[in-house]
């Protein structure tokens, strides 16, 4: 079985462990073993990134060097982690001076960055490494009559020159994966807009309004579920619905793409962590058909 190192990031293991669980189990079914990385630090996104380019480079450089040491690629679940590690890799690969500085610091731990390790976001593993055909072969209980709205996550797809995941203005990976699983993917206004998550650090009221605009737009086109590929987006798009502006009966289930795919692949619900979803996924799971 192919192996890849899973860089879990700070948020997923604490606030959305179901994403970690579902991803590991879905990938295993698809022939990829994801091994959680240990002895790592936060990737530095947003906070260290905003304060010091040198600190940011050395923090990301260390994570990449640890993976090089294991001779494995890195899988990320979070848009921010994915973005920071890819940007750091890009900077280190293109700036020999920066790489020298980083390696001086890493040498104290016997580590070295050379650029061998690739950083792949979950959507890349699914669409490019495993491939749509292979995933389709594993769908045993396709959804029937279900409309999905894909939310890609800004840092997953932008800037394209560096992250190389999907067309940033017209991304399609989540939509295609959902269609393979039998659902109908619908477009909605503001599909490529931000969930508001990064604003939580500075102003939660504004963050909530930005998230709710998305929920409103998704509701307009009648989607039954929002599919995500980043725990930050997932948590934010869920959280913003627990607010008096949205009636409990109007809440739209939100779930990571791997939970959604896993169910259609016939993986047990508890191995996908569904009991942890804050907005009940029942209406989505009821659309699964038996056998194919």
């Amino acid at each position: 079985m192919r192996e890849i190192l899973l860089y879990r990031g700070c948020t997923t293991p604490v606030r959305l462990p179901a994403y970690e669980l579902a991803t590991m189990n879905v990938l295993k079914e698809l022939g990829v073993k994801a091994i959680p990385m240990k002895d790592v630090t936060c990737c530095g996104a947003q906070f260290v990134e905003s304060l010091s380019p040198d600190a940011f480079a050395v923090i990301g450089g260390r994570i990449l060097a640890l993976a090089e040491d294991e001779e494995m690629d890195i899988l990320t679940l979070c848009g921010a982690c994915s973005g920071s590690l890819k940007i750091t890799k890009h900077n280190l690969d293109n700036d020999p001076g920066l790489r020298r500085k980083v390696n001086d610091t890493l040498a104290e731990e016997g580590l070295k960055y050379t650029g061998k390790t690739r950083v792949l976001h979950l959507l890349q593993i699914l669409a490019q490494e495993i491939g749509y055909d292979e995933i389709e072969r594993h769908i045993v209980r396709p959804y029937n009559g279900l409309k999905i709205a894909a939310h890609y996550g800004c840092h997953v797809t932008r800037p394209f020159e560096i992250v190389q995941v999907d067309d940033p203005e017209n991304p399609t990976i989540i939509d295609r994966l959902a269609e393979i699983a039998g659902a109908e993917a619908v477009d909605y206004p503001g599909k490529t807009r931000c969930c508001g998550g990064p604003m939580l650090a500075m102003d939660t009221t504004v963050a909530t309004k930005i998230g709710q605009e998305k929920i409103f737009n998704v509701g307009l086109v009648g989607a039954n579920v929002i599919l995500t590929a980043c725990e930050f987006c997932d948590l934010q798009l869920t959280q913003c619905q627990f607010d008096e502006a949205i009636k409990p009966s109007k809440r739209i289930p939100v779930m990571p793409i791997t939970q959604f795919l896993g169910a259609a692949m016939g993986i047990d619900e508890e191995r996908l962590g569904f009991e942890m979803n804050r907005i009940s996924p029942d209406s989505v799971l009821e659309a699964l058909q038996e056998g194919r």
Binding site: R8, C10, T11, P13, V14, R15, P17, A18, E20, L21, P36, K38, D39, V40, T41, C42, Q46, F47, V48, E49, S50, L51, S52, P53, D54, A55, V58, I59, R62, T105, E108, C154, H155, R158, P159, P168, E169, T192, R193, C194, G196, G197, P198, M199, A201, M202, D203, V206, K209, I210, E213, E270, R271, G273, M276
Partner: protein
């Protein structure tokens, strides 16, 4: 040659241009597409990326460096995708933050997060209680997350924030 639209009162834009990402600021033609595509601008009264870039071009150095506004950018890069002139407001404000941090202007929200990050090596150490550990165990996930809490302390001199109380 294009006509010079801005008459700067300081060399602020040049200073920013020396920071990676900041060099594009001079290409801005003040069309306002960034503000029109920005979600933060839609829900706040004060945040307007075009206007903030104008202040930079006009050389309002102190005002911009001390302002909270550059820290409100979500770096969602939608504006960058849309800007016809190849300017990335996200990158420009990132360069502003780095310069501001060097001079000690870091919003308290960022400062607090940085303190915890330096101590623990990751962001959610304080939220990871027995409850979450048990939850992970019940799901069959390893409760030991194995974060490294030493490395960030070792490199903290690289961070302007670590220098002193401001």
């Amino acid at each position: 040659m294009t006509e010079k639209v801005h008459v700067p009162t300081s060399s602020f834009a040049e200073e920013l241009a020396a920071i990676p990402g900041g060099e594009v600021v001079n290409k801005c033609i003040q069309c306002g597409i960034c503000t029109a595509s920005c979600a933060v601008a839609r829900y706040t009264d004060e945040y307007r990326p075009r206007q903030l870039i104008q202040k930079i071009l006009l050389g309002e150095r102190e005002e911009v460096l001390k302002s909270r506004l550059p820290w409100l950018c979500m770096t969602c890069r939608l504006c960058e995708e849309r800007c016809q002139e190849g300017v990335s407001p996200a990158e420009v404000f990132h360069a502003v933050r780095i310069l501001a941090a060097r001079e000690g202007y870091v919003p308290p929200e960022f400062r607090r997060v940085m303190d915890s990050l330096l101590n623990n090596g990751w962001l959610l150490a304080d939220s990871y209680t027995d409850f979450e550990e048990e939850e992970r165990e019940d799901m069959g996930l390893d409760p030991d997350l194995g974060w490294n809490d030493k490395f960030l302390k070792r490199i903290k001199d690289l961070l302007p924030i670590a220098e002193g109380e401001k």
